[in-house]
């Protein structure tokens, strides 16, 4: 009895102690981001890799990285861009381009809400748009964008994924030609490309390109709800400077947000409008059935002169080289984040329509009507911050804007423009992301700030560090910084989505029976080696824990050996790897049911081993084989075997 009494006393005392401890706030923050072992995150966050050229997948709130999806860059980890099947994905009109600068992921939508079928991302340097399948988490398609340069105001999608839109940052001569750089003004063009997305297959095709005046088209977002059918692009360098832009493109007091009525232009081109222009751009499509990509060069693009379509394009004056262009969930407010200003400019869609109907123009630029600033302005957010870049929305009437220079996130109210809260970021935040935060239906639980500068946030790793992200809880009135985590590459933007919209559809294996790869080995009995002149094709299968065949003779110096590896596993998370000594390429990582091909050009006589690079089973270390390489003039016939 006495023991019982003291236990109660003790536990009471303990609880009191916890309640009054100064660590209480921190420990409740820890609970908010703690995803216990074996439990799963609430959201997926897809972060662009920036100069990694790829897309990384994280969980929120844990900040754990799940996968790096290779998109525009060769990826030796899986063999993407190295295997014969995936090399065509990186073909362009400039030849094989094994890298890009990936920027703005955007998840497909239906009725303005995330549907989790695909995610699109732009390659900024060699203009390309990629579509990633969210069942396989693999890049399914890449289309090059002609007449574009610095594909930055991309890859944003309309609210039923009718189009993925790609705008050019650099204006360039269209078509490209040899001309003096300083004749830029009035001669260069800015192409805004509307790429249609097939609602079933997701396949992309450039429907039309709008050839706009030679400004820099920085960022964009679609109208939604009542403004569905419009697209908004921020511009800078309306000065059309071609040198020392940091000064010369910062002279105008106001640049523009270009409002594009794409429905009107779509109707125009559907009725035969527009000019077909010779072009040359790559369209690369990957198939889950053949496990192979094809690259096709497209020779023509439909261009549109916006001045030929009355009512298609208007300019909304917006102060000071606006960067981010964001549209609130209702579709009413279009936010210009005036990078070189302290203020945010918010335009009203209704006012814009009224001004257009009232024909209240303030002149024109290259034939495109300019609306009066005062007529379209809904309000100005005077935040006191510096360098506003991007805005996202929580679906509860609030907006969150990043300020690069003053290094903070500011929460403000739509309609009243009052600042509700501000929290520092560490350091110099670029983009921010709320899951669904640029759709009709945001999931306003967290905001992730993606910072450009890391400095002392983590243990130092020499001069080069990963970028830093911060997670804020935004369920309360005030934002609460709850977590800090490093991100891979340089995330420019991210797209988040509730896990339940994607996780149940995620593929576990590829069905071997459905494998249509030309070089697949569907049963071990089909494993063989075939010589075709100097080319030797090895049809090889893998299953725990052996290659079939694993002894091959009759290969000669100077041959080109193709290893066509088919993984016969039909079990979740059992890939097999393949690597050959001295091979001038990467390994292969072959998923269950998949076929991948790797080339080896043996240079030395001898007996050379290969092995499985993925620890597949208890007998992984036994999963190996040999190829005998004979002199170029040898008469040894090809032979192959397993287990004799």
């Amino acid at each position: 009895m006495a023991l019982l009494g003291s236990t109660i006393l003790f536990s009471c005392g303990n609880q009191n102690g916890e309640g009054s401890s100064s660590g209480a706030l921190n420990s409740s923050n820890a609970e908010k981001v703690y995803v216990a072992p074996g439990e799963q995150d609430e959201f997926y966050a897809f972060m662009s890799g920036g100069y990694s050229g790829n897309l990384t997948v994280y969980g929120l709130p844990s900040g754990r990285m799940f996968k790096e999806i290779p998109v525009f860059s060769q990826f030796p980890t899986s063999g993407y861009g190295y295997s014969e099947e995936t090399k065509p994905m990186l073909e362009t009109s400039f030849g094989f381009v094994p890298w890009d600068d990936s920027h703005h992921p955007d998840i497909s939508q239906t009725n303005g809400e995330l549907d989790g079928r695909w995610i699109f991302i732009n390659g900024n340097n060699t203009p390309r748009i990629a579509r990633i399948d969210l069942q396989t988490f693999e890049t399914a398609e890449i289309i090059e964008v002609p007449n574009s340069a610095g594909n930055h105001s991309s890859s944003f999608i309309t609210e039923n994924t009718e189009y993925v839109v790609a705008g050019t940052r650099f204006s360039v001569p269209v078509p490209q030609r040899d001309m003096p750089i300083n004749e830029y003004k009035g001669n260069f063009k800015g192409a805004l490309s509307f790429i249609s997305v097939d609602p079933d297959s997701g396949h992309m095709a450039i429907k039309f390109q709008i050839l706009m005046p030679g400004f820099n088209y920085d960022l964009s977002h679609p109208g939604r709800g009542k403004s569905h059918g419009w697209f908004f692009f921020t511009t800078y360098n309306t000065e059309e400077a071609n040198s020392l832009l940091e000064v010369n493109a910062s002279q105008n007091d106001k640049d523009f947000i270009a409002a594009i009525n794409w429905k009107k232009i779509e109707e125009y081109v559907n009725n035969g409008g527009g000019t077909k222009m010779p072009a040359n751009y790559a369209h690369n499509v990957y198939s889950d059935e053949t496990h192979s990509a094809t690259s096709t060069m497209v020779k023509e693009v439909l261009t549109v002169d916006p001045t030929k379509i009355p009512g298609a394009v208007y300019f909304l004056p917006t102060p000071k080289s606006p960067h981010g262009c964001d549209v609130d969930p209702s579709g009413e407010y279009i936010i210009g984040n005036g990078k070189l200003s302290a203020d945010l400019t918010v335009h009203s869609f209704d006012k814009m329509i009224a001004a257009i109907e009232g024909k209240k123009f303030d002149g024109e630029a290259y034939g495109i009507p300019i609306l009066k600033f005062e007529d379209v302005l809904a309000g100005t957010v005077k935040s006191g911050g510096l360098g506003p870049l991007h805005t996202e929305f929580d679906g509860k009437g609030n907006a969150y804007t990043t300020f690069f220079i003053s290094s903070e996130v500011v929460k403000w109210k739509l309609g009243t423009w009052e600042v509700i809260d501000r929290k520092p970021t560490f350091y110099s935040v670029g983009h921010l992301m709320i899951p669904g935060g640029n759709s009709r239906k945001p999931f306003g639980k967290y905001v992730v700030a993606m910072n450009k500068i890391t400095k002392d946030r983590y243990l130092p790793t020499g001069p080069e560090m990963e970028h830093s992200a911060q997670l804020y809880d935004i369920t309360g009135d005030k934002m609460e910084l709850i977590y800090d985590f490093p991100t891979h590459g340089e995330p420019h933007y991210a797209a988040g989505i509730p896990a339940e919209l994607i996780a149940p559809k995620s593929k576990k294996i590829y069905r071997l029976a459905d494998n249509k790869n030309e070089y697949a080995t569907l049963t071990p009995a089909d494993a063989r080696v075939v010589r075709d002149g100097k080319d030797v094709h090895i049809y090889m299968s893998t299953i725990r824990s052996h290659f079939t065949p694993d002894n091959i003779e009759g290969v000669k110096v100077g041959d080109k050996v193709y290893f066509h590896i088919t993984n016969h596993e039909q079990d979740f998370d059992v890939p097999h790897g393949f690597a050959m000594i001295g091979q001038n390429t990467s390994e292969l990582l072959v998923m269950p049911g998949q076929t991948k091909t790797s080339i080896w050009e043996p240079k030395k006589v001898g007996v050379w081993p290969f092995y499985c690079t993925d620890f597949c089973s208890a007998l992984h270390q036994e999963m190996q084989g040999y190829v005998r390489v004979s002199p170029a003039d040898s008469n040894l016939e090809l032979s192959w075997s397993l287990g004799d």
Partner: protein
């Protein structure tokens, strides 16, 4: 007798469930198989609980030298069982109909039940014998040769009924829908017998009472 006969007709029809639903199920879970592998045993063959489970169980079993899970054509039972069940359904329904038109006595109901029970026990015996062979008759060249603490080779016979631990796997072996339907059907025939017997008794008493008057 009418009510009893109707039950006797309905009861055997429940056995038809065996053509559509598994009789038995064996699930194998392990740390690296959070979603367990499993096999459903039907009267005409063994199928994976998920599409590729049989292939994956065979893949694991090859390490310890177990034979692959038999295909329908590899075991005569899978050809015979559907015929036996079909014959028993036919027989049971026939007995019920004959009972209904008072051609035969309710005692036939019990006869069917006993015959079905004997066949059931034989089936279980046969199934268990196969599992013993499957779990102990191992390839002498097996990759892993596991032994019990006393030095005897480890056997991998799954339990006929219940749970067991086998190396890293937790094995659970339980009847499934087909078996439950068979059980219900057989119970109905037993009830049919009981009703028939009771009615017979009361009819007998009535007759006795009438004769006393």
């Amino acid at each position: 007798m009418k009510k009893a006969s109707i039950l006797m007709i309905v009861g055997p029809l429940f056995l038809l469930g065996l053509y559509f639903f598994p009789l038995w199920n064996i699930m194998l879970g392990a740390p690296q198989y959070p979603e367990p592998l499993g096999m459903n045993i039907y009267i005409d063959g063994i199928k994976g609980f998920n599409e590729f489970d049989i292939q994956n169980i065979d893949g694991l079993n090859h390490y310890i030298g177990m034979k692959t899970i038999p295909k329908p054509e590899e075991m005569w039972e899978f050809g015979m069982f559907p015929i036996v069940i079909g014959a028993m359904v036919f027989l049971g329904v026939l007995i019920g109909i004959l009972g209904f038109i008072n051609k035969i006595s309710y005692k036939w109901f019990l006869g069917w039940f006993i015959l079905m029970s004997i066949l059931g026990v034989l089936g279980m015996y046969d199934f268990n014998a196969w599992m013993v062979d499957y779990g102990t008759n191992l390839d002498p060249h097996a990759i892993m040769k596991m032994a019990n603490p006393d030095g005897t080779p480890m056997s991998y016979k799954p339990p006929l009924l219940g749970n067991a631990k086998m190396l890293n796997f937790d094995v659970a072996s339980w009847p499934r829908t087909g078996a439950y339907m068979m059980f219900v059907g057989m119970m109905l025939t037993l009830i049919a017998f009981y009703l028939g017997w009771q009615q017979r008794k009361s009819t007998f008493q009535e007759v006795k009472m009438k004769s006393q008057k």
